[in-house]
């Protein structure tokens, strides 16, 4: 018991020395990423004489990133387990097509169409997962096949035409704004949750006699987060209100971030990606986990597909083309390793925000499309280069 007390003491004195370090306690990677995002925004703001930072544009930017963001959330789980999904873009297009066809051609109620699409997404995810987990076909091959198959089905189904004019329920998801009050209430709820979470955690740690971060730092952290939340809500409200797709991605990000960092399931995801053999020896059912992760990803792709169709108010044969590349890039910019075992939902979302900011900013500046491709590609490579360089220095 004495050793434990000593440990605690050591920890507290150590932390006092590093107040600054404790405040910036999160991953250095996340930190550099946010820095990169801020500098990209700064450059665009200067280049557009401040137009980039108007609430109208930021609101649009968040709406645009929500689709890539949702794909990245699923993708980051796949990447952490050491797999890859090349079919996400095609599958998103296909599922967006299915919801449109059900709603427009078959005149199905919007909610029913959405329900069926979600189930189809889950089913296709299960199918991919089964091939990878139980049939031991590399995910690269399974999803490379999927990339072609899903796009083919979409073209065949729509006969190459655009399926347009969806029902109001579906249009609502991708285009509507919530009235100001709701945004404010949501913001307040989030701050309350943060406070509760932080103080509950402290209470438990004291109960177990474990070291805790000083109260002042905890308070500063919460205030910092609250200001950030307030800022986002204010910006969105000063345009038209809280966009529904942004609300959806915020909810999904919270749920999946919780799953990845706080649950037994999440711990096992990292274990499988870090060393599948060792994970198996610890009694983890690796194939079952892989199957569940692919199914979950299928569901998220379905949500992204529905949002895409909703936002465009149409399903086209080219919908979602190359979206998987954006999602993979977002995960990697966000610190995920393609070797598996490393990555985070928060990182993937910041990565998605980087990719969307580049799209948005360059479009505003009327930069030609070919330049947009070149810049995005270069940023991806530079981000990873930077990451590897800083890792080696340590």
């Amino acid at each position: 018991m004495t050793t434990q007390v000593e440990n605690t003491k050591l920890a507290t004195t150590g932390e006092k020395k590093n107040l600054f370090k404790a405040f910036f306690n999160f991953d250095v990677k996340t930190y550099t990423m946010i820095l990169a995002l801020v500098s990209i925004w700064l450059i665009f703001s200067i280049a557009t004489n401040g137009d980039f930072l108007t609430s109208r544009n930021l609101s649009n930017l968040f709406r645009q990133m929500s689709i890539t963001g949702i794909l990245s959330i699923g993708m980051v789980f796949i990447i952490i387990t050491g797999h890859i999904d090349l079919s996400a873009g095609s599958l998103m297009g296909l599922l967006g097509g299915i919801v449109a066809i059900l709603n427009v051609w078959f005149k199905l109620d919007g909610i029913v169409a959405i329900g069926i699409t979600l189930i189809v997404g889950l089913g296709i995810g299960l199918c991919n997962g089964w091939l990878v987990a139980y049939k031991k076909i590399p995910a690269f091959i399974v999803t490379l096949g999927g990339l072609l198959v899903f796009r083919g089905i979409l073209v065949g189904m729509t006969k190459g035409t655009t399926v347009a004019s969806l029902g109001p329920e579906i249009r609502f998801l991708g285009n509507a704004y919530l009235i100001d009050g709701i945004g404010i209430v949501l913001g307040l709820l989030a701050v309350c949750a943060l406070i509760y979470n932080s103080f509950n955690g402290r209470k438990l740690r004291i109960q177990y006699g474990l070291s805790i971060t000083p109260l002042s730092i905890e308070v500063v952290k919460i205030i910092f987060a609250a200001v950030l939340i307030g800022l986002v809500v204010t910006v969105l409200n000063s345009y038209q209100g809280f966009p529904v797709p942004v609300l959806i991605i915020v909810i999904l990000a919270v749920i999946f971030s919780y799953i990845l960092t706080k649950t037994v399931f999440g711990r096992r995801v990292y274990a499988i990606g870090g060393n599948g053999e060792a994970a198996k020896l610890c009694g983890i059912n690796v194939p079952k986990m892989t199957l569940i992760i692919f199914a979950m990803h299928g569901l998220l792709v379905a949500i992204a597909g529905i949002l895409l169709t909703s936002r465009l108010n149409a399903a086209s044969v080219a919908a979602g083309q190359n979206a998987e590349m954006d999602a993979i890039a977002a995960c990697v910019i966000g610190g995920a390793s393609l070797a598996g075992g490393v990555g985070s939902v928060g990182g993937a979302i910041v990565g998605a925000l980087v990719m969307s900011s580049l799209d948005n900013g360059m479009s505003m500046l009327n930069i030609e499309t070919f330049w947009q491709y070149i810049v995005k590609g270069a940023i991806l490579v530079i981000a990873v280069w930077f990451d590897i360089a800083t890792k080696n220095k340590k």
């Binding site: 649950t263 060393n275 053999e277």
Partner: protein, 508 residues
């Protein structure tokens, strides 16, 4: 004869603040076979990596004089250029390529810009003859036995006109016949004037081959002596720095209650489903007993316990009884649920998850027990347990959030042990539990084995280290070619009896 071909002076090599080599001096005379002995982790391999250019000049302090010239070795090909070739413990051959391409890999003979295959074939044939290796140059490496592969490695080194050959544990995975061949080849090379540094744990070989021996302990050179002035005990004493009696703090806790019984167990190869690796093995284990499994590499011990634990992917048959009840284990999870755990042989491949922290590694096999609502993890309880086991097992780590890859091998092994000790166990299988860890950590692991046995856990310990198995086991089962070849109560038996049994002679 008396001049030194190699002098290494005052070598210091640090790894992130830890001195792996601390002022080591090492001199080798021309044309001798010079043995380098020391415990695992003593610094032998590090020293040889400095010499062969794996660690380039500038990453260590000290100087190397070779053939009276000061050597600056920046990479492996620099070392090869001056005639120093190393044959690592893990062979570095391309299994899908033929012998002749392996021999000239990176060093291809060519004329007018094209690879000169006939010349390479001719030279290979010559080398193979010298090695008394009766295979065609076209044979793929994967079709050769380990011993033959070793000889190909030596041939490869000789093709580069090596003056000095470094062999790192060359006989670790060889059969007795293969060892014999290797010994003869080395003797012949010596006659031709090739100097040889021979790293080995096997003192018999050292006494048979070497002219001189240098012992390294804890990164320091302890002494260099003529082999004829030494006895085995002298070398062992120099290696461990204390009497061997201290090394194994054996306590007896064996009871007569049977906890595990394995009957007629047969295990088949993963790839060839009708090839038996383990044939009809039966044994029983009592509460509090330490049951040692001895045998040569490839005798089927690891496959047997892996199969019992549900980790073997090939076919298997036989029955397992736990406390008298028949149980079925299809995967490691089944085994863990029954209270059977296994600490695997290959720590890096099967034991640790490098991308995770010490704490996360430690609690992974037991993570179910921290589950709270919404599948959440009870962080505090988890941290509390991890803290306790860190203290209990004396795990030296900067913190529980440190990545496990930053720990030393011994501490990693303790984490792997803690992982399974967090569960309530009936049977613990330890596959080479002290491989590659230092003497201090070994001692702590032995004490831990005692403590667990005292709690009534039945322990199966596979070990290729004969003194260890004689020092720690209550009973020893010796396997040979997939079968039980003998069983000994660990009383008044010696290494030789076990060895004879392990190489196939039937025990009395």
């Amino acid at each position: 004869m008396d001049e030194f071909i190699l002098e290494m002076k005052g070598i210091v090599k640090e790894f992130s603040g830890v001195k792996a080599l601390n002022d080591v001096s090492f001199k080798v005379r021309v044309g001798q076979i010079h043995a380098l002995c020391g415990e695992n982790g003593a610094g032998k391999s590090t020293l040889m990596k400095v010499l062969s250019g794996v660690y380039p000049h500038g990453t260590y302090q000290g100087e190397i004089v070779f053939n009276q010239k000061n050597l600056i070795i920046r990479n492996i090909s620099d070392a090869e250029q001056v005639g120093i070739a190393i044959i690592h413990q893990e062979l570095a051959l391309f299994t899908e390529l033929p012998v002749y391409e392996n021999i000239f890999m990176g060093n291809e003979l060519h004329s007018k810009g094209f690879v000169n295959i006939p010349a390479m074939l001719a030279k290979t044939q010559e080398l193979l003859k010298e090695m008394k290796l009766d295979v065609s140059p076209y044979t793929l490496i994967k079709h050769l036995g380990t011993g033959q592969q070793q000889l190909v490695e030596i041939a490869k080194a000789l093709s580069k006109n090596a003056q000095m050959l470094i062999l790192d544990e060359p006989t670790a995975s060889l059969s007795e016949g293969e060892v014999e061949i290797l010994m003869n080849i080395l003797a012949e090379l010596k006659a031709k004037g090739v100097t040889c540094i021979y790293i080995s744990h096997k003192l018999d070989e050292v006494f048979r081959l070497a002219d001189t021996v240098t012992v390294i302990r804890d990164g320091k050179s302890i002494g260099t002596e003529q082999i004829k002035d030494l006895t085995k005990d002298d070398i062992v004493k120099m290696m461990v720095g204390r009497e061997i009696a201290d090394l194994y703090p054996k306590e007896v806790h064996v009871t007569d209650q049977e906890v595990l019984a394995v009957k007629n167990y047969t295990v088949y190869d993963t790839n060839e489903s009708n090839k038996e690796i383990v044939h009809n093995v039966s044994f029983s284990l009592k509460r509090g007993e330490v049951l040692g499994f001895s045998g040569l590499v490839g005798a089927g011990r690891t496959e047997l316990v892996s199969a019992i634990y549900g980790f073997h992917s090939g076919k298997r048959s036989g029955e397992v009884y736990l406390n008298g009840q028949k149980i079925t284990i299809n995967n490691p999870n089944d085994a863990l649920q029954q209270g059977i755990a296994m600490v695997p042989e290959d720590r890096k491949r099967h034991g640790i998850i490098e991308s995770m922290s010490v704490k996360e590694n430690m609690t992974l096999a037991n993570i179910d027990h921290y589950r709270v609502r919404l599948d959440g993890i009870d962080d505090c309880k988890e941290l509390d347990d991890a803290n306790q086991y860190m203290a209990k097992l004396k795990i030296k780590t900067p913190g529980l959030d440190t990545f496990i890859k930053n720990l030393s091998g011994g501490n990693q092994q303790k984490v792997v042990l803690a992982k399974f000790l967090l569960r309530t166990l009936k049977v613990l299988i330890l596959d080479e539990p002290t491989r590659g860890i230092d003497v201090g950590a070994k001692y702590e692991i032995y004490n831990l084995i005692n403590r667990l046995a005292a709690e009534g856990i039945g322990i199966i310990m596979i070990s290729s280290d004969l003194p260890e198995i004689l020092g720690m086991a209550d009973r020893i089962i010796v396997m040979n070619a997939g079968q039980v070849n003998g069983e000994f109560i660990n009383k008044n038996i010696d290494q030789e009896q076990i060895m004879h049994c392990a190489v196939g002679r039937v025990a009395q």
